[in-house]
């Protein structure tokens, strides 16, 4: 009985003990649950915004869509730079059951090398199963067709096109149109990173570089939802890219090609412009190079071959080549003489074949050993008499020569729409003092008077100044861009010519006199460019033969080459028709010899083609 009572008591106390322990545990459960709930509140309410952002960052990706680069045409709509699809064969692994069988299948259809397969296998391991892995690049049209036909039985096989810049005329336009290349470190410093997010190529030189902004267009964006592996599930928002503008150049591809052919194997440059608008009709620098080689990266050896060549194919002679203008300066000198009254129609000079400054023993030689005899200004131009111009220069003085020639734009950049144009050089006392630290010597005036000595001019500058002769002092900034076209609505916006301060201080009679003399160069009895007589229109021109000096004493030149490279540069400037010029041009043939016999016929062929076939027949 007592024992039972004890047990009962025990039972009661045990129950109480257990009850209190359960209460403790309920408290613990409550406390731990409260912690969890607090944490949930903290995550889902207090920090909800933060995690919501992270969640969206996870799934929403902004994909930049590159704009299509604008095309480049010539003035007649001939395509010069296009975006050519480059097809490649891709395989999406997740859609393929038996990869080896598929590759074997594909090898029966198109050529797939062992190297291709090896590279494919490497890529295969690195990419997600839903991403296309390239197997073959640069498929030909036939291969694309073959695959397209067989595609229905080849699941997972895709033909992917990527646009590649292609220059249809290759080297003919390399120096004008230039090329695009892969964006490099230097480009990255100057470009807008947002706009170029998806762009791989950028204009490196030429028109491609100068009009990069217009050609590039504006980047587009796609907001997509992706899963954790990066597979795109759907597009949330889209802002399509704005394609780049099409450019219509003032160039005529036919004239360009004819000019290129006319230069033949010579190194040199031809620039032809439309005198009233400044539109450049042709701009050739020979030799050229294939710009297509640069688009996706040129090989080191190929680049070194171009860079190291003595012919300097990468050098744009038309824009950067600075040559002594030689006798082509004489019409300008003649105008200066008339303007300052140092010469007139009745004024003559006896040419014994040399000229001497009073009190000086040195003889300044005429190109014609025996001399031209007594010549007036007209004959001095027609026969290109140096002695007449030595005397004229002496009377004009270098100061007045500089002031007058500067009006035409000698010694300064023409402002054409290409980068890194050189200004040439129009010497003056001022220039010599500041650049050379020396005083001007009277003899240098004589040399400058026949376009030698310090005087330098680019072929472009010669063409532009020649145009100003033909238009009697009109000055217009030369331009390669003819019109800009918006690809979305097709509207074409032509460019207006930019006129500069015209050449003044000359009467019509004075102009007539000199310009007629330039016609006599071609049609006169003793004209130096008589070879152009048979052209369908009347041509006015002036030959030039520039002495080459200061040639680098480079041991690498062999004797024959030195001899060839010491030969005079042949120059010729012309405009036609003489009464109302529609074309003005300058031809510079490096080491070509005589302007009349080498440069003038080249100009003749170009003019012949221009008036025979091109003019009036776009």
């Amino acid at each position: 009985m007592a024992r039972s009572r004890v047990q009962l008591k025990d039972h009661f106390s045990e129950t109480r003990l257990f009850f209190s322990r359960v209460v403790w545990m309920v408290l613990l459960v409550g406390a731990l649950t409260a912690i969890t709930v607090t944490r949930l509140f903290y995550l889902q309410v207090a920090d909800h915004h933060h995690y919501s952002t992270l969640s969206n960052d996870n799934r929403v990706k902004l994909i930049a869509v590159p704009p299509t680069r604008g095309l480049i045409f010539d003035r007649n709509g001939v395509l010069l730079a296009e975006n050519r699809p480059d097809y490649r064969l891709e395989v999406t692994p997740e859609q393929v059951d038996d990869m080896d069988a598929l590759i074997a299948d594909l090898r029966r259809l198109v050529e797939v090398g062992d190297d291709d397969v090896r590279r494919f296998q490497v890529h295969l391991r690195r990419k997600h199963a839903f991403e296309g892995v390239p197997l073959r690049f640069h498929l030909s049209d036939e291969e694309v067709a073959t695959l397209a036909v067989a595609r229905h039985r080849l699941p997972g096989v895709n033909i992917v096109a990527r646009l590649n810049r292609h220059y249809t005329l290759g080297g003919t336009l390399s120096h004008v149109v230039g090329y695009v290349g892969r964006i490099d470190e230097r480009d990255l410093r100057s470009l807008d990173p947002t706009d170029y997010r998806a762009t791989t190529h950028i204009g490196k030189i030429g028109i491609e570089k100068f009009y990069e902004d217009a050609l590039h267009g504006r980047v587009g964006h796609q907001q997509v939802e992706t899963n954790a592996q990066g597979r795109i599930l759907r597009t949330l928002e889209e802002q399509p890219p704005q394609p780049g503008k099409h450019l219509y150049l003032s160039l005529d591809a036919r004239l360009q090609r004819i000019a290129e052919e006319a230069l033949g194997e010579f190194r040199g440059a031809v620039v032809a412009i439309e005198p009233n608008s400044g539109e450049v009709l042709a701009m050739v620098s020979k030799p050229g190079y294939d710009p297509n080689a640069f688009v996706n990266g040129i090989s080191r050896t190929a680049y070194q071959a171009l860079q190291g060549s003595h012919d300097q194919p990468l050098f744009n002679r038309a824009l950067l080549g600075q040559y002594p203008p030689g006798s082509t300066i004489k019409p300008f000198m003649a105008l200066a003489g008339l303007a300052y009254g140092e010469s007139h129609s009745g004024h003559t000079q006896y040419c014994p074949g040399y000229y001497q400054l009073p009190g000086e023993a040195r003889r300044y030689r005429d190109w014609k050993r025996g001399g031209h005899g007594r010549v007036d200004l007209d004959q001095a131009i027609t026969q290109s008499c140096d002695v007449y111009f030595y005397d004229l220069a002496r009377n004009l003085t270098i100061d007045r020569m500089h002031a007058f020639l500067a009006q035409f734009g000698f010694g300064e950049r023409t402002g054409i729409d290409l980068h890194s144009e050189r200004p040439g050089l129009l010497p003056s006392r001022e220039w010599k003092r500041s650049q050379r630290g020396q005083v001007w010597f009277p003899g240098e005036t004589l040399i400058a008077g026949i376009g030698q000595g310090y005087t330098l001019s680019t072929p472009l500058q010669l063409a532009v100044t020649t145009a100003s002769l033909g238009t009697r002092g009109l000055r217009v900034r030369p331009r390669l861009l003819h019109a800009i076209q918006d690809p979305t609505d097709g509207s074409r916006e032509p460019l207006v010519p930019v006129f500069l301060e015209p050449v003044g201080g000359l009467s019509e009679q004075q102009w007539d006199y000199v310009l007629e003399a330039m016609e006599h160069v071609v049609y006169g009895k003793r004209g130096t460019a008589a070879k152009l007589r048979d052209l369908p229109v009347r041509v006015a021109g002036k030959t030039g033969t520039a002495q080459v000096f200061g040639l680098a004493q480079d041991a690498e030149y062999d004797a024959e080459e030195i001899e060839e490279r010491l030969r005079d540069h042949a120059l010729f400037i012309a405009y036609a028709p003489a009464d109302a010029p529609r074309i003005a041009l300058a031809v510079v043939v490096e080491n070509g010899g005589s302007g009349g016999s080498v440069a003038a016929p080249i100009a003749g062929r170009i003019l012949q083609a221009f008036f025979d076939t091109i003019e009036g027949r776009p």
Binding site: R21, I35, T36, L43, Q44, Y51, S52, N58, R59
Partner: protein, 379 residues
């Protein structure tokens, strides 16, 4: 106390035919309601977490059916019978654990399974039930609170199987086994002084355990837990993505099937250990609180059953099983919300997977048996 028992519906039956029927099957209607709610909610969220895979939902449903049968079967076994079989069950479990370890040594690598030819069986799952049963059995042998020697023996009954499981290595299950034994011990009246002593000893044990007991990958997990950004694409990825899922759910959630973290694969293990993150992302704070409330309801119902139990063995066992269930929930949700390190414990009754579900439901079968096999004592 005893008078109150008499009016307990579960024990006495009722006029309602369903309740009466449940009583005859020894099932507790209140507990069953909570369990069915959890399982139902689990299937709903699994449909979303599995990427709307009905097959997977059906498989989980089938698994729940099996677990349900296990529960019903165990509910029929009276606590007395259970108590009688406890030592043998425990011994068998212990031997199987050793067998698994030995085979693991041979197989070189983690080994939790015992292949019985027909079915694969995890002895550690058996121990989740056998350990609290054994501790309760041992403590019920003498009046409470237990004496020192009994406590020491109980401690051995807990530590040995827990250590064997930890060696597999399965830290999550070892934790559950240890805590189930500890709960039995605590409910039996483990002196507070000893508890404080244990806590101190455990604190002192942390460093050697860290250095010598934990595997490198377990240490990694703890490192990652304290600083998930240390390795955002590797070990920290789970925690970071899980927190983003929960946090971005906000108060109302993104809606069923609309959780971007889960639907777009950013959340790893989303239909197993991290399913609570999917739930919180899609149903928000409101949904998560509701789910926790149901869990809490089940735990409290279990503790109520323990309070109602008539003998020490039943009491301790019922209390331990209920609290262990809570540990499951707390550790899993704590891991998902970044409160606790990543321990491979599923969210009970909701995470996709079979073995633990059967064990959990079997435990509830025992709880129901305890509640429905009470004898009415005359006053």
């Amino acid at each position: 106390m005893k008078l109150a028992d008499r009016y307990d519906l579960g024990a006495q039956g009722s006029a309602a035919p369903l309740t009466g029927w449940l009583a005859r099957l020894h099932l507790d209607a209140a507990l069953l309601l909570g369990l069915l709610a959890l399982a139902g909610g689990g299937l709903v969220i699994l449909y979303s977490a599995s990427g709307e895979d009905l097959d997977e939902v059906a498989r989980q449903g089938a698994r729940f059916a099996v677990a349900f049968v296990a529960m019903v079967v165990l509910a029929q076994v009276s606590p007395q019978t259970l108590r009688r079989w406890t030592p043998r069950l425990f011994l068998a479990g212990l031997l199987l654990l050793i067998a698994v370890l030995v085979m693991g040594e041979i197989g070189k690598g983690a080994q939790r399974w015992l292949d019985l030819g027909v079915i694969r069986f995890q002895p550690s799952e058996l121990m989740k039930l056998a350990v609290p049963m054994m501790v309760a059995w041992h403590l019920a042998e003498s009046p409470l609170p237990p004496r020192a020697l009994r406590l020491l023996a109980s401690a051995l009954l807990i530590v040995v199987p827990a250590a064997l499981v930890a060696k597999q290595p399965d830290l999550g299950t070892a934790l559950l086994i240890a805590s189930s034994g500890f709960f039995a011990l605590f409910l039996a009246g483990l002196p507070w002084r000893l508890l404080a002593g244990f806590a101190a000893a455990a604190a002192a044990f942390v460093w050697p355990a860290w250095e010598f007991l934990l595997h490198q990958y377990q240490r990694e997990r703890v490192h990652t837990f304290f600083n998930p950004e240390r390795d955002p694409l590797g070990a920290g990825y789970h925690i970071i993505q899980s927190k983003i899922a929960v946090g971005s759910g906000g108060v109302y959630g993104k809606g069923w099937l609309n959780g971007t973290q889960s639907q777009l694969d950013f959340l790893p293990e989303r239909h197993t250990d991290f399913i609570f993150a999917v739930f919180s992302e899609e149903f928000g704070l409101i949904g998560a609180l509701l789910l926790l409330a149901v869990y809490l309801y089940v735990v409290l119902r279990g503790l109520y059953i323990a309070l109602q139990a008539q003998d020490t063995f039943s009491r301790l066992l019922a209390g331990s099983l209920s609290l262990t269930f809570f540990v499951y929930v707390f550790v899993n949700t704590g891991m998902v919300v970044g409160l606790l390190p990543v321990v491979g414990l599923p969210l009970p009754l909701i995470s996709y997977g079979g073995t633990s579900m059967v064990t959990v439901m079997a435990g509830f079968g025992i709880l129901m048996s305890i509640h429905t096999h009470r004898k009415l004592l005359s006053p």
